[in-house]
């Protein structure tokens, strides 16, 4: 073991994204000297948001991605947020290849802050209808926790990141500590009322979102101020108006004096010491020099984002763990699931012609899951949540040519009809046959095996998609919407950017990798608290749950360290 004290820490956190940020914050606040490893570059709040003040006309291609980049990088080019203003925060296919045994669009952000810079900021709590899903419906394994285990940690996270929302009083979507909400617009309110009238258990609510709509001392302490409704969040926000790790968790952890941040550090593996029977450190390859270095700590948090967390663990082999760290049961990398985002529906609302909106809003309406909640009522398991938004803008008449086109463009200031739309967020069932693994031959330029994806939709997903189309068409018809159009995007899994699992939590070491504290059953000083830990995926945007699990696990880890239990 190295005796160089500069390589010894109390804790190592692998990954500087949203959950790594939470681990670092909690551990540093509790006095642990913490090393945070990030494979990408540093991104400092304000300083490294090069496009944040750019006007739309200042982008040379007005937002479009040049053809040569699209051609070489088809996966990332399919991501809705991969545009000229934020492309520098996304991983290009060509820079970091992986092997798709089945098509999977793997969307990644390799930098300090990770994907928290460009995320969609929707944050809803899980309820026991979600945690009890696998046990009730007989899939995956039972979650080792319930809502009450996470409730105070949800609050802990919400109070720090700031969440704008309404107290809706729904048992499917527990309320939190919310800042005030922006409006649902008149058409969204109309649909809300219409759905309430016609469907007992269906609700249209305001989508809870990680934006500051009120000042509180904790936000001022972070140096953040109110969201200014620019909705250019993916570029990084000069006001700190939305939550990302760069403006909050990481500087907060740095302020304690306990954090060492090391960017450009590609984690090769976790070092397992057979004599001590625990993990002792992390082996990294410097992204630039390719030099291998080892760092040591008492506890290790793995927060590399779902698939890279799987990759690091699978690549952490030893004679004790020949198939990857903690992988005694052979389930590491398996039971991966995601959200089915294939369904979209759009329509026209002919009413409310005398109403418009003003300004912008970084969220939309949200319809929590209503299928199979209280009882199994369809021929598929589980269900879907959906967005709902209505908008209208000015008509642009660009017909004609010459003075005619000019006159057309300059003479119309009328509004077009309202457009309404929803997209489906379906729960998929984790299965052993949906898995990630390591390629036995191909390696990346840092000598690390490439990740292979074997993930696909199944019949349950297809049936659920049809149900979404049927139910939403019916709901839209009831509301009198016209020109209703449904669309199956046929997108590959992954484009939802909600991949989860592979290192699931559970009661039993025979059937899961982590215990109820996100601690590896077989290597208790290693904690996995990002999306990889998820036993099932429910329908909610998952980040809030990852963050709450991380904060909870980090505090538990500190207690265990203090008791000398790990």
């Amino acid at each position: 073991m190295s005796t160089d004290t500069s390589h010894h820490f109390d804790a190592i956190v692998i990954g500087a994204g949203m959950t790594g940020g939470w681990a670092a914050k909690e551990l540093c606040e509790k006095g642990l000297k913490t090393l945070m490893l990030e494979r990408g570059r540093n991104v400092e709040h304000l300083k490294d948001y090069p496009t944040t003040f750019k006007q739309p006309w200042e982008f040379p291609h007005r937002g479009q991605i040049p053809h040569a980049i699209k051609k070489d990088n088809p996966v990332i080019s399919r991501c809705y947020a991969y545009k000229e203003d934020a492309m520098h925060f996304f991983v290009k296919d060509t820079d970091h290849p992986y092997v798709q045994d089945k098509p999977f669009d793997w969307i990644r952000g390799y930098q300090v802050g990770g994907k928290s810079i460009m995320w969609a900021r929707q944050v809803q709590r899980w309820s026991d209808f979600d945690f009890e899903g696998p046990a009730r419906d007989g899939f995956a394994v039972d979650w080792p926790i319930r809502y009450k285990d996470l409730e105070s940690w949800y609050t802990h996270v919400e109070q720090f990141i700031g969440v704008s929302g309404n107290l809706d009083g729904l048992d499917t979507l527990p309320d939190g500590d919310f800042l005030k909400a922006w409006d649902l617009n008149c058409v969204e309110q109309y649909f809300q009322g219409n759905v309430k009238e016609n469907f007992e258990d269906r609700h249209v609510i305001y989508g809870r979102t990680a934006h500051l709509t009120e000042n509180r001392p904790i936000f001022a302490e972070q140096g953040r101020t109110l969201c200014q409704n620019r909705v250019l969040c993916q570029r990084g926000c000069p006001y700190g108006g939305y939550f990302n790790a760069n403006s909050t968790l990481i500087p907060w952890a740095q302020k304690t004096g306990n954090l060492t941040l090391r960017p450009h550090s590609v984690v090769h593996s976790i070092i397992f010491d057979e004599k001590e029977n625990k993990a002792t450190g992390v082996r990294i390859v410097d992204a630039n020099t390719k030099e291998t270095t080892e760092y040591f700590a008492k506890i290790i948090f793995v927060n590399a984002a779902t698939f890279n967390t799987n990759l690091v663990l699978l690549n952490s082999t030893s004679s004790r763990f020949p198939n990857g760290l903690g992988n005694d049961n052979g389930l590491l990398g398996k039971y991966v699931a995601f959200h089915n985002y294939r369904g979209k529906i759009n329509a026209i609302h002919e009413g409310h012609k005398d109403i418009k909106t003003e300004g912008k809003r970084p969220t939309s309406g949200y319809i929590p899951r209503f299928r199979n909640v209280y009882r199994q009522e369809t021929d598929f398991l589980r269900g879907y949540a959906a967005g709902f938004s209505a908008n209208r803008g000015r008509l642009v008449d660009g017909d004609g040519v010459g003075m005619e086109m000019r006159d057309n463009l300059l003479s119309t200031k009328d509004f077009r009809a309202w457009r309404v739309g929803s997209h489906m967020m379906g729960e998929t069932i984790p299965k052993e046959s949906n898995f990630v693994s390591l390629d036995s031959n191909a390696k990346d330029e840092w000598g690390i095996p490439l990740l292979k994806t074997n993930i696909d939709y199944d019949d349950n997903d297809e049936k659920m998609l049809q149900d979404f189309f049927e139910q939403f068409t019916y709901m839209y018809e009831k509301a009198g919407f016209t020109e209703i159009k449904t669309r199956d995007t046929k997108q590959a899994p992954g484009l939802d950017i909600h991949e989860m699992g592979g290192v699931r939590m559970g009661h039993d070491p025979e059937t899961s990798l982590l215990n109820k504290w996100n601690q590896m059953h077989a290597c208790p000083n290693v904690f996995v608290t990002d999306g990889a830990c998820m036993t099932s995926v429910s329908t909610q945007n998952p980040s809030l749950t990852f963050m709450a699990l991380t904060a909870r696990a980090a505090n538990y880890a500190v207690e265990q360290l203090q008791k000398d239990a790990i």
């Binding site: 006007q55 739309p56 006309w57 200042e58 040379p60 291609h61 007005r62 479009q64 991605i65 040049p66 053809h67 040569a68 922006w182 409006d183 649902l184 617009n185 008149c186 969204e188 309110q189 200014q228 409704n229 620019r230 012609k353 005398d354 109403i355 418009k356 909106t357 003003e358 300004g359 912008k360 809003r361 803008g393 000015r394 642009v396 660009g398 004609g400 040519v401 010459g402 003075m403 086109m405 000019r406 463009l409 300059l410 119309t412 200031k413 509004f415």
Partner: protein, 172 residues
């Protein structure tokens, strides 16, 4: 020299410059995918400006409309579309000669209107000429509708709205 007289002189000089190619020293843009001669470049510029005339409007953009059209086609279009555009651009002068027996900068107002109308109707020109025109028309319009002038005057654009109001009466 009185101001009016000076302005008249400048006007005469500019007009002279416009018809004397030898005095056109502006460097022709160099693009990876669009080989371009001076005359082709100027004919594109002329066409783009005819598509939406800007006289009397104060529209400032970071780049000229011609530069925008060329950059978008060069960088963002599929190779086969770039090729079709280039063929159309290179054949445009010949097309004009065939139709009007003159070059773009000698077309009179009536001929210009006729040219634009027939290309707009889109049923007579060779396929590449039509594609070149349609593309230039679409990108010229995008250049204008994405300008600060158009966004702020016609589309209620605000960079920092600081609010969202969901139920505002439409005025008038």
């Amino acid at each position: 020299m009185k101001r009016r007289e000076a302005l008249q002189r400048i006007a005469v000089l500019s007009a002279t410059a416009a018809v004397l190619p030898a005095c056109d020293f502006a460097p022709v843009p160099i693009l990876e995918n669009i080989p371009l001669e001076r005359k082709q470049w100027r004919s594109l510029e002329w066409l783009a400006n005819q598509i939406i005339p800007m006289e009397g409007l104060e529209v400032t953009t970071p780049e000229t409309r011609t530069d925008f059209v060329l950059r978008m086609v060069n960088d963002c279009y599929e190779p086969e579309d770039v090729e079709e555009f280039v063929t159309g651009l290179h054949g445009f002068e010949e097309y004009l000669m065939g139709q009007f027996e003159t070059t773009y900068n000698r077309l009179d107002e009536e001929q210009t209107a006729q040219l634009l109308t027939q290309l707009q109707e889109g049923d007579s020109a060779p396929k590449e000429i039509q594609y070149f025109f349609d593309t230039t028309r679409g990108l010229s319009r995008q250049h204008f509708t994405s300008s600060e002038y158009f966004l702020t005057t016609y589309l209620d654009y605000e960079f920092v709205p600081g609010r969202y109001l969901g139920c505002v009466p439409v005025e008038g």
